[in-house]
Chain length 104, copies 2
């Protein structure tokens, strides 16, 4: 959990996650959205990977990064619960308050 929050404490890394939210993307493509040097960005990738927030996969001569939403969810959920809060993700609606299936 500390690793996740540490990863989230940098704007560049949060932006990377946001970009990956739309779908997997190569390191180079990601780099196009930032002004920092590629080695710097590569280090950011490493931090995100260390926190298991992203996974990498080689494809040809480029590296495709993919977000791990479940890890992000779990960390935020865990923290929110400690404060009596409730986190609803689109994929995981809370059983107690179902949106669909209105009672007839």
């Amino acid at each position: 959990m500390s690793l996740v929050f540490k990863a989230l404490s940098d704007p560049t890394r949060r932006r990377v996650l946001e970009l990956l939210k739309s779908g997997p993307m190569s390191a180079g493509e990601l780099a196009g959205h930032f002004t920092v040097a590629k080695p710097t960005l590569s280090a950011h990738f490493a931090v995100l990977r260390e926190a298991r927030l992203i996974t990498s996969e080689k494809s040809g001569n480029s590296v495709i990064y993919q977000i791990q939403m479940s890890v992000l969810e779990e960390a935020l959920l865990g923290f929110a619960q400690a404060f009596g809060w409730q986190l609803n993700t689109p994929e995981t609606p809370t059983p107690e308050t179902p949106i669909k299936a209105p009672r007839p």
Copy 2:
């Protein structure tokens, strides 16, 4: 937002927030819950104060710390929204899915 996440990236600081969740507490009282030296803890307080997650107030010869839930909420809410998530706090139930007031 970065400051908040940075503050949350340390277990001791998260624990401090949890303790303060139950109500304001003096620095000494808080220190009783940790094994780290008091100056170290004081530095943690400074980080939390910098992120505006806590406020301090002198009372007699002790300092009372108080959590600022709104700041925590705002940061987490802002982040959750960027990911299409929804954060429900007890004080701020979402209008779209009211728990109380079932339709007759």
